[in-house]
Symmetry: C2
Amino acid sequence: MNLKRLETFYWAAKLGSFTAAADRLNATQSTVSMRIQELEREFDAELFDRSQRAARVTPLGRELIQYAEQILQLAAEMRDHIGAAESMPGFLRVGVAEVISITWLPRLVKEIHRRYPKLQLELEEALTRDLVEKLEQGYLDLVLAPGRVEGHHFTSQPLGTLRFAWMSSPALSLGDGELTPKDLQKCSVIALAKESYHHTLIEDWFSLGDARCHRIYTCKGLGVAASLAQSGLGVTLLPVRCFHKELASGQLKILNATPPFPAIEFTATCASDSFQPLARSVAQLAYEASDFENIPLRSQAEPAAEHHDRY
Amino acid sequence: MNLKRLETFYWAAKLGSFTAAADRLNATQSTVSMRIQELEREFDAELFDRSQRAARVTPLGRELIQYAEQILQLAAEMRDHIGAAESMPGFLRVGVAEVISITWLPRLVKEIHRRYPKLQLELEEALTRDLVEKLEQGYLDLVLAPGRVEGHHFTSQPLGTLRFAWMSSPALSLGDGELTPKDLQKCSVIALAKESYHHTLIEDWFSLGDARCHRIYTCKGLGVAASLAQSGLGVTLLPVRCFHKELASGQLKILNATPPFPAIEFTATCASDSFQPLARSVAQLAYEASDFENIPLRSQAEPAAEHHDRY
DNA sequence: CATTCTTACGTACTGCGTAAGAATG
DNA sequence: CATTCTTACGCAGTACGTAAGAATG
């Protein structure tokens, strides 16, 4: 009996595809196919129904999943408890939101490498929505992103909060008075892709003030958004601490918008039943590496005291 | 991660010796040593303390035993539930008492081979006491012997009962009247080794009648005992059904001893937590293969109705 | 016709046993 | 000095990836 075979079966069954399992396991599909065939020969039983193009788990295979899950879970726990941290091998797939990757991600990566020198990191930067989806499908072990993932299947670790503010080029001269959504809806707004958390935040803010932005540009990253805003194309929503330099030099200015933007909470989320116990340990490392503020979320609406940003 | 490594560690830890584990696992001690070293490298932790001649488990190793036990248990269960009976591989070590090996053991062996063609049987005939000891130490998976093994760690399956009777050569002419222990203690008694169940039974019978046999010969098997008795050397205790031929031909006769011998219960016993789930299945096969009588044990003292013996 | 699984084949590696070595009580 | 674990070495079987094949929707 071989744990690798069992793990391969587990993922093939769970992901519903040999190809997906191969991807998840850093192997080729031919290898996955072989491993499962070996398992079937060993048990002398059909685990997958291959009559259609996509292999589907048989009822017996479904029973096997239960055992596989328990065994792999135990094995993961065992490695976590018995193995020295430095000797932890394997892969960890971490999905990160852009803001994190441009702030403290490098520090986290260094820290991970220090603590788990044998661990292979696979970083993926994408929109929060896609990251969460991949987490749910088991393609990612850990997601560092804004918001929380609902459901009991996941364990979330807060990473602190980040303040966003409306910014634009001073050249836009929108005045120094309070700017409501209805005021801003006349401007062009620069946001990330429609599916992004960023975009959702912006739409929510406008609808809170019974407004709707009419001209909206979308781009791929906050850096691009900022440079578009600098050029006077429109207003955009940016994390304050990442653009100190531009604010100081007068390339960007913070608009006196109302209602003020609530601080956005970031969390590290992993599957509760992950076979990768390191996911939780790395979530903790992420908390330690994070330099996001720690604003209690109970009163998000009130303006947070100015904090000494390190970037 | 490798289950074989884990199993090797488990047995080395449990048996307290690499050599013993090697024996138990059908491997060489060099292989056991290697597997454990690999495990230690994998965890980057010391599992055994080799400062003395015999390797002793470290505290960390003791923790690992818990995990290993759970995982191996689950894996065994999985194989039992998922695997087809015909495909069950591996070894099964069965200890049998002599009476069984000269009655229905061949039938059982054939049946096992029919049901589990890939299973390697290792049969061991020995005194009940030694068999039980080996079972307790984990050297045997299953024991077919008289009596019951006390303790919760074991699961016993009744196999039926066997009647024994005092026999001797008719030439001894002990008369037709009832023979009490006090009568028989004058004769030479032929028994198996002092440590045997047989020997204990005989001593118990005598002490029940406040007697003690003075001249006692011991020999290695029931066949030898019977042939010694036939030659007129003394009386002995034999299972009735195994010596029909000798009784019919007048080479042996049953003595009218009192109190009559209770029927002896035989059981199949295996460790409750055995990683060999087949042990229990084979115990069931043994029950089916057994043609020992099924006398309810509540009234062992009363003479059982004559049963049609098949041998 | 793109996708999904299977098969064939060559290579690299891992795991095992034999045998010899070192240490211990 | 016998027993117990470790090390060295060579062989054999296994596992993997590449690449090509077959089937399905």
